[in-house]
C-alpha cells in the first residue's frame, strides 16, 4: 500500500520539480499521530474550568463536589500550583516601557477575558473530567469590561485596573527621524494646498485562525525527563519558555510536535493550556492529556488582526504619491501574546507597499482589552498593512478617475531599481512588478472584463461587476537575528540543520523548522538530493522533537524555506567538503584535484571516482582513513540571513454584486506571485490556494464578534463561518521569478502571500462594482447584509467616520440613492425596482 509517483524517475535537478509529497501516505490512510491519538499507560485526562466572564475577581473556588465525582483524581487551582505553573510569556516587548500584564496559565485572583482557565479537573476519562468540571463552583465578582480597541484607548474602563491605563505601548517609525525619507507633515501640507490628500479609516476585523486540528497536549512526567507532546508550531520556543518560567531544567524537558493539523499562526504560541496540563501532570505524577473542544478553541486560542487604521495619503495632482501617514490602534486583547505586541509592528515596513513615497510615518498604539488575546495570524501585521495601502491606492485612482493599475504603475518601484531602499528603511531584494502585472492581466482578460463592467453599468444591470486589484509585497524569512535584536525581540532568527550520512547510503536531514502541513519533508528532500547527489527517496527529514532536532526556531513568518532551507544547503555543502577529504585519501589523490557532481567524486582528467554514499560507508568502518583524520562526515549548519526577502505579486479579482440583494459572487481570481526560486511548484500552488481562501474569507465571511458582556458570540463553527467548497471557486495561478539575493537558493517564501494579497483584491472589487453609487467602502466582512446596507445608504460614506474623500465620479442619476434608511423594506424595494 504505497503511493505511486510516476514523476520520480524523471531526470534533472530536484529543485523546481512538482514532487508528490512524502507526507501524504500516512495522512491519506489514517495512520496519523495527532497529539490526541497518543495514549500512554496510566494516562489521565484533563478538563478546563473556564471563566464565563470577561472581567471578574475570583472570590473563591469550591472544588469538593467535583473531587467526589466518579473517576476524578484531583482538581487543580492556580493557588495550588502558584510557584510551579510558570507563565504565558511575551517574547517581544516592543518598547522598554511596554505594559505587559502577568499572564498566569491558571488564573488566581482575577480573570481578564472570558475563557480564561480557573481550574483543571483531572479524571480517569475525558468524559468524567468534563462532567466534573461542571461541578466546580467559582464565585466571581464581575468587573466592568472594555472590549473595543478604540474605546480602550480612552481609558474610561480599564482592562487591568492596576496598570492605570489600557495602552500597552506606543511605537513610531518616521522617515525623517530615521533618515530614510522626508518630513511627512510637510508633504501632506504641500498636498493640501496643491495636490491630493486622501484620508480614510479602515477596520481590520478580528479573526480566529481556525486550524482544523483542535489543540491538544499530552504531558508525561513519569520518566527522568518530562515529555510534552503538543499541537504546536513552536516546540523549541515552548521548551525554552517552560524552562524559563517554571524553573525546570531545560535539559529535563523534551517537547515533541507530532503530526500537527494546521496552525496559521494560531499555534505560534505557548499556551495557558500547555502550562496548565504540565502543572496538573506534575502534580499527579501521571501522564495527563488535554484536548480542547472547538468551542474552547475559538474562545481561548488567540485571535488575529483587530486594528483601527487611519491613513492619510498625499499625492501630487498627477497622482504621484508623496507621503503616507498611518495611525494605528491595535487591540491586543487581555494579554500581550508571544509576539502579539510585535505583530502590528511588522506592518510598519509594509504600509508603504511597493510605492515610492517621499515621506512616511507609522504611529502605533497597542491597547489591552477584556477580550481573547490577539497574536499572529497568517501574515501577521502584513495583511493588515497591505489591505490598507491597496485599498487607499484604489481611492487615489478613483479620485483621479484613473485605472487602478495605471496609478500603481505610476508609483511603483520599477524592476531596474532593485535593490531598492524603501522609505520605511527596508531594502527590497528583487522584484519585477511589471512582469507579474502583465501576466496577471493576460490570465484575467483584464480588458475584456473592464468592457463587460462598462456594459453592465451602461444598461444599469442589477448585477454589477467589480474588478479588484492588489499589487502587494511582503517581507518574509523571519529573520535576521541582528534586526530582531534591534527591535527588542527576545530570540534570534537563525535556523539550523544537520545532515547524517548513514552507512547504508540513506541520509537523515534534521531541521529546526516544525512543519504542520507545509511539506518540508518533501521540499527539504529535494534540496538535499540536489546538493548531495543522492536519490530523493533515500532522504528522511526529521523534525519537531527537541531531542532529535535540538536546535531550531520553528515555523512561522514564511521563514522555513528561506532560512531553514538555506541551513540544509549549507549543512550539505559541509558534508561534501568533509567527504571530499575521505574520498581523496581513498582515491589516492589530492582533494583539490577532485570534482563533485551527481553524488560522485572524480579525479580530474581520469575515470577514477567514488560515490558519496560509498564514502559514508568507508567512514562508518573507518578501516582506511588518512592518518590523524577524525571519523565522520556528518555536518551541522546554522543560517542567519542578513536581511528579509520580499516576495510580491499581482492579484486580480472579479466580483459580481447583486445591487438588489447585496449578494456577491466571485467570477474570477488570478494570482501571479513572484516568490523567487520555486522548489516545488505543486506545493507552492497549494500554499497560494489556501492563502487566497483565508484572505477571501476575511473579506467576505469571517469575524469574531463579542456581545456587550464580552461573551464570544461566534463561539462555534455555526457562527464563525469558515468558507466551504461551495463558497469558493477554482483559481488561476502562476509565477514570475525574480530570485532572492538573500540566500543561495534564491527563494523568498510563499506561506502567507495568498492571504496577504487577496483581502484587498476582493474588497476593491466589491467597492469598484458599487462606486458609481457613491460608495467608497464596505466594512469587512462584506456580507450581503453589509453590502445591501451600503447600497441603501449610498451617498453617505459606508466606511463610517471616514473624512475627506471627494467623489468626482458620483453619478447623480445612478440608482439606489435613497436616504440612509437601512432595513427599511420600502426603500429596499424602491432600490430594487430601478
Amino acid at each position: 500500500m504505497t503511493v505511486t509517483d510516476e514523476r520520480s524517475t524523471a531526470a534533472g535537478p530536484e529543485v523546481g520539480r512538482s514532487r508528490l509529497r512524502k507526507e501524504d501516505q500516512r495522512l491519506i490512510t489514517g495512520r496519523t499521530r495527532w497529539t490526541d491519538n497518543i495514549v500512554l499507560p496510566g494516562m489521565l485526562h484533563a478538563a478546563m474550568v473556564r471563566s464565563p466572564f470577561a472581567h471578574a475577581n475570583i472570590r473563591s473556588i469550591e472544588t469538593e463536589v467535583a473531587e467526589q465525582a466518579p473517576g476524578v483524581i484531583t482538581v487543580v487551582t492556580g493557588a495550588d500550583v502558584k510557584d510551579t505553573q510558570g507563565a504565558v510569556a511575551t517574547a517581544w516587548p516592543i518598547t522598554t516601557d511596554q505594559k505587559t500584564p502577568d499572564h498566569l496559565p491558571i488564573a488566581i485572583e482575577r480573570v481578564a477575558c472570558a475563557g480564561e482557565i480557573v481550574a483543571v479537573v483531572v479524571a480517569r476519562t475525558a468524559a468524567e473530567a468534563r462532567d466534573a468540571a461542571e461541578l466546580v463552583d467559582v464565585d466571581y465578582e464581575e468587573l466592568p469590561a472594555i472590549l473595543d480597541g478604540r474605546e480602550a484607548a480612552e481609558d474610561a474602563v480599564l482592562a487591568h485596573p492596576s496598570l492605570g491605563t489600557n495602552t500597552s505601548a506606543v511605537w513610531r517609525l518616521d522617515s525623517a527621524e530615521s533618515g530614510t525619507g522626508g518630513n511627512v507633515e510637510e508633504e501632506i501640507a504641500k498636498a493640501r494646498t496643491d495636490g491630493i490628500v486622501i484620508e480614510r479609516e479602515y477596520r481590520q476585523q478580528r479573526l480566529i485562525p481556525s486550524f482544523m486540528e483542535p489543540r491538544s497536549t499530552v504531558v508525561d512526567p513519569t520518566g527522568e525527563q518530562v515529555t510534552v507532546w503538543t499541537s504546536t508550531q513552536v516546540p523549541h520556543l515552548l521548551r525554552f519558555l517552560i524552562a524559563a518560567t517554571t524553573g525546570m531544567s531545560e535539559s529535563k524537558i523534551r517537547v515533541i510536535a507530532p503530526d500537527v493539523g494546521g496552525g496559521f499562526g494560531g499555534k505560534l504560541q505557548t499556551t495557558a493550556e500547555e502550562f496548565a496540563t504540565l502543572a496538573a501532570a506534575r502534580r499527579v505524577g501521571k501522564p495527563v492529556k488535554y484536548t480542547e473542544t472547538r468551542s474552547e478553541s475559538l474562545v481561548s486560542g488567540h485571535h488575529g488582526r483587530d486594528q483601527y487604521q487611519r491613513l492619510t495619503l498625499a499625492a501630487s495632482k498627477d497622482g504621484t504619491v508623496t507621503a503616507l501617514k498611518v495611525d494605528l490602534i491595535a487591540n491586543l486583547g487581555a494579554y500581550v501574546g508571544l509576539v502579539g505586541g510585535g505583530t502590528p509592528v511588522l506592518g510598519a515596513w509594509m504600509f508603504n507597499g511597493i510605492y515610492k513615497f517621499k515621506a512616511y510615518q507609522f504611529n502605533l498604539r497597542t491597547v489591552l482589552t477584556n477580550t481573547t488575546w490577539v497574536d499572529a495570524y497568517r501574515g501577521a501585521g502584513r495583511p493588515e498593512a497591505t489591505f490598507a495601502i491597496e485599498r487607499i491606492m484604489d481611492e487615489l485612482a478613483a479620485e483621479l478617475g484613473a485605472d487602478p493599475l495605471e496609478i500603481r504603475e505610476r508609483n511603483w518601484i520599477t524592476h531596474e531599481e532593485f535593490p531598492f531602499a524603501s522609505v520605511a528603511g527596508m531594502t527590497y531584494d528583487s522584484g519585477n512588478y511589471e512582469a507579474a502585472t502583465a501576466r496577471a492581466k493576460e490570465l484575467f482578460d483584464y480588458d475584456g472584463l473592464r468592457r463587460e463592467q462598462q456594459e453592465r453599468r451602461d444598461r444599469k444591470d442589477p448585477v454589477q461587476l467589480g474588478i479588484g486589484v492588489s499589487t502587494f509585497t511582503e517581507m518574509c524569512g523571519l529573520a535576521p537575528s541582528r534586526v530582531l535584536g534591534s527591535l527588542n525581540y527576545g530570540a534570534g532568527g537563525w535556523e539550523h540543520a544537520s545532515i547524517r550520512m548513514l552507512p547504508t547510503g540513506k541520509v537523515e536531514v534534521i531541521t529546526g523548522t516544525s512543519p504542520h502541513g507545509q511539506g518540508h519533508e518533501t521540499a527539504w528532500s529535494q534540496i538535499a538530493a540536489d546538493r548531495l547527489g543522492v536519490p530523493f527517496e533515500d532522504i528522511e527529514v526529521l523534525h519537531g522533537d527537541t531531542q532529535i532536532a535540538p536546535r531550531g526556531l520553528d515555523t512561522y513568518g514564511s521563514r522555513s524555506l528561506v532560512v531553514g532551507g538555506e541551513a540544509v544547503v549549507r549543512a550539505a555543502d559541509k558534508v561534501v567538503e568533509k567527504a571530499k577529504l575521505v574520498a581523496a585519501h581513498l582515491l589516492e589523490a589530492n582533494a583539490e584535484d577532485l570534482d563533485f557532481s551527481g553524488g560522485r567524486f572524480t579525479v580530474k582528467g581520469t575515470d577514477q571516482g567514488i560515490g558519496i554514499t560509498e564514502v559514508a560507508a568507508a567512514q562508518f568502518t573507518s578501516h582506511n582513513l588518512a592518518e590523524g583524520m577524525e571519523s565522520g562526515i556528518d555536518a551541522d549548519a546554522t543560517f542567519d540571513p542578513v536581511t528579509f526577502s520580499f516576495p510580491h505579486g499581482t492579484h486580480l479579482c472579479a466580483m459580481e454584486v447583486d445591487t438588489e440583494t447585496g449578494g456577491t459572487r466571485m467570477r474570477r481570481y488570478v494570482a501571479v506571485d513572484d516568490i523567487g526560486q520555486v522548489v516545488n511548484p505543486l506545493i507552492v500552488q497549494g500554499q497560494v490556494h489556501g492563502g487566497l481562501v483565508q484572505g477571501i474569507a476575511q473579506a467576505l465571511w469571517e469575524e469574531a464578534v463579542f456581545d456587550e458582556q464580552g461573551t464570544l458570540v461566534t463561539g462555534s463553527f455555526v457562527d464563525y463561518t469558515l468558507p466551504t467548497a461551495a463558497d469558493t471557486i477554482s483559481f488561476l495561478t502562476d509565477n514570475t521569478t525574480s530570485p532572492s539575493t538573500t540566500n543561495t537558493l534564491g527563494t523568498k517564501g510563499v506561506g502567507e502571500a495568498g492571504c496577504i494579497a487577496s483581502t484587498p483584491a476582493v474588497v476593491n472589487a466589491i467597492v469598484d462594482a458599487l462606486r458609481p453609487l457613491g460608495i467608497d467602502d464596505v466594512r469587512m466582512p462584506c456580507t450581503p447584509e453589509r453590502v445591501w446596507t451600503a447600497i441603501q445608504s449610498a451617498g453617505a460614506s459606508a466606511g463610517g467616520e471616514v473624512s475627506g474623500g471627494a467623489q468626482p465620479h458620483f453619478d447623480e442619476d445612478a440608482p439606489n440613492q435613497d436616504g440612509p434608511e437601512p432595513g427599511a423594506a420600502e426603500a429596499g424595494q424602491k432600490g430594487a425596482d430601478q
Binding site: G30, F211, V260
Partner: protein, 158 residues
C-alpha cells in the same frame, strides 16, 4: 452500558458502550481507529465522516448505539489488498491535502459524492463537499482530485 455489535473495517466487534457515546468516540477510544478525527463539536467540520452501510455520516452525529447491527467503514479500511482507493491516490496526486487533518473525512465524503453522482459538475462536487471544512487547501485541489476520479477534470483554465 449497552451492548452493541458493529462491523468496522471488516472486523466484527461486540462492546459495551454508554448510551451517550458518540460513534466517533467509540471508534477512536474503544477501537483505536484514530484515523477518524474530531474537528468541532457542532457537526460543522465533517472531519469525522465515515461510511455507515456505505453512506457517509458524520460520526459525531451518530450514537455508537445507532451503529448496532450495522457496518462502518473508516479511512483505515479504505485501501484493499495493499492498494489505495482511487480517491486516496487522487488526493495524493492532486496535492489535495496539506496538514491532512480534514483528509480522512474529506476522502470519505468525496467517495460518497461520486457514489451518488458518478459524473458531477464542478459545482455539484463543491456542493457535495459543503459539509466538510478544510483550512489549508482552499478546496481547489480537493475539487481537482474528485474530478480526476470521476474523469471529469477539465484541466486548469489558463
Amino acid at each position: 452500558m449497552t451492548r452493541i455489535n458493529v462491523r468496522v473495517d471488516g472486523v466484527t466487534y461486540t462492546d459495551e458502550v454508554e448510551p451517550r457515546t458518540l460513534l466517533v468516540h467509540y471508534l477512536r477510544e474503544q477501537l483505536g481507529k484514530t484515523g477518524t478525527v474530531v474537528g468541532c463539536d457542532t457537526s460543522n467540520c465533517g472531519a469525522c465522516t465515515v461510511h455507515l452501510d456505505g453512506r457517509s455520516v458524520k460520526s459525531c452525529n451518530v450514537l455508537a448505539l445507532q451503529a448496532d447491527g450495522h457496518e462502518v467503514t473508516t479511512i483505515e479500511g479504505l485501501a484493499t489488498d495493499g492498494r489505495l482507493h482511487p480517491m486516496q491516490q487522487a488526493f495524493h496526486e492532486c496535492h489535495a491535502l496539506q496538514c491532512g487533518y480534514c483528509t480522512p473525512g474529506m476522502i470519505m465524503q468525496a467517495i460518497d459524492v461520486l457514489n451518488e453522482n458518478p459524473k458531477p459538475s464542478e459545482q455539484e462536487i463543491r456542493e457535495g463537499l459543503e459539509g466538510n471544512l478544510c483550512r489549508c487547501t482552499g478546496y481547489h485541489n480537493i475539487v481537482k482530485a474528485v474530478q480526476q476520479v470521476a474523469g471529469t477534470g477539465e484541466g486548469e483554465r489558463a
